[in-house]
Amino acid sequence: MKGPKIRFEKVLKAYGELKVLEDLDFHVDENEVVAIIGPSGSGKTTVLRVLMTLEGIQGGTIFVGDEPLNVMRKGDRLVPANRAHVRRIRSKIGMVFQSFNLFPHMTALENCIEAPVQTKGLSKSEATAESLELLAMVGLTDKRDHYPSQLSGGQQQRVAIARALAMRPEILLFDEPTSALDPEMVGEVLNVIRDLARSGHYTILLVTHQMGFAREVSDRVCFFDGGVMVEEGAPDDIFGNPQNDRLRHFLSKILEAT
């Protein structure tokens, strides 16, 4: 049988004394859609950031497929991963940020083709053809030559999604992709993410505060609190029949707020 697509084994992430993730065991199956929920500061973003190699970890191992990310095999020993190893594994992962992080000096299309041309050795015309399809998919064909400053937040985030897809990742990470958006633009971005989730082509990790959306698109929901995964389960169980007190408390506070 095939192992999980992503696996955290006793992962420790600390900033000095502060342990942000502690002995985290966690896995995501191939083409599974997992939503991560939890209060502010619980370590949700950190899970995505260590997976994307934006941060190192202080203990444990992260596996992508059956390959370790932070270490590599050398003979029969494990040594810290070198740059080439990290880049090879990283190429399977794409990430969409809360604040978009588009390149402001490039047009929507240039944002999309930059990395495929630089890192995958695609010609400019190949990359352009592919990126135009992706821009069409997110509904932005007519904005291809616009700079980010000329786009609305919702449009920028859709370009950011197309840009991540242009690298043909197997795993997609979304960190609160709609938190920085005006309410009227949330829908257009969620629609795109919903399509990706339903396509069944991607393993997706979604950090979100939109409980309704998490319940709708995910196969499984994980609740984090204080750097540990407190409860996980099917969306209907997590939202309909929460077991842990902290989860219940969290959900009731969210309900109050909305």
Partner: protein, 240 residues
């Protein structure tokens, strides 16, 4: 901006005209002064190129992940900012021969001015790069761009907009500082003026022309700077 250039050119032409009409002995000292102006221009252009190259090299190296590279950059910046340009010029021209390295006056002048200003420019380049939001580098990592591609394609193009005003100012300072190259026996416009004044006592004409020439050089740099700034910040304006 174009209006300002036209005004300067017109003013120069006007004053030159007046000069020709009024001061009949202009042709006695003007050739020597023009030769000086050419030297100033040569030193300025060559040392400005070196200044920009060194600013980028040292500015980027100062935040390098490799300790040795970082130390080299810090050492260079400290040495050239911590001592005066005049002394640096003396060193290059009069002391280096003791170690078997003989430089022509032009080489010593260009090296001295370029290296000295590069040390200041390095901090401007570095500051501009630090001003690029961290999210840009994180996006580059997420897209698997190499460190090199991130630097060249993402960070530097955005930093250039930020560094242009500071670098423009330094370039103007650099042109004015080239007057010090007379210390290594070069006859630049300032030194030529002093010489011609001692020979002909035409103080008003000679130093008026000198001042105007420096001012024209400076305006030219200022104009170039804002044209570059325009070019590199096109994307930041809404509409088009």
């Amino acid at each position: 901006m174009a209006g300002r250039i036209i005004a300067v050119v017109a003013l120069t032409a006007f004053l030159c005209g007046i000069s020709f009409a009024t001061f009949s002995e202009l042709r006695i000292f003007l050739p020597a002064m023009l030769r000086g102006a050419v030297v100033t221009l040569q030193v300025s252009i060559l040392s400005a190129v070196l200044f920009i190259v060194m600013s980028f090299l040292a500015g980027i190296a100062k935040d390098s992940g490799t300790r040795l590279v970082r130390w080299l950059a810090i050492g260079y910046i400290e040495v050239f900012r911590g001592t005066s340009l005049l002394v640096q010029l003396f060193w290059l021209y009069f002391v280096l021969p003791e170690f078997g390295i003989v430089l022509s006056p032009m080489m010593a002048g260009v090296l001295g001015v370029g290296l000295n200003f590069g040390a200041y420019g390095a901090e401007i380049v570095r500051g501009a790069m630090l001003a690029v939001p961290r999210g840009q580098q994180e996006a580059s990592v997420a897209l698997n761009l190499s460190d090199r591609a991130c630097l060249i394609r993402i960070v530097i193009p955005q930093a250039v907009v930020v560094m242009i005003p500071g670098m423009t100012n330094l370039t103007i300072e650099l042109i004015k500082a080239t007057a010090l190259v007379s210390a290594v026996t070069l006859v630049d416009i300032t030194y030529a003026s002093v010489q011609q004044n001692q020979l002909h006592y035409r103080t008003l004409e000679i130093f008026t022309i000198t001042v105007m020439l420096y001012y024209c050089f400076a305006q030219f740099i200022r104009f170039g700077g804002s044209a570059l700034e325009d070019r590199f910040s096109r994307h930041l304006r809404r509409g088009h």
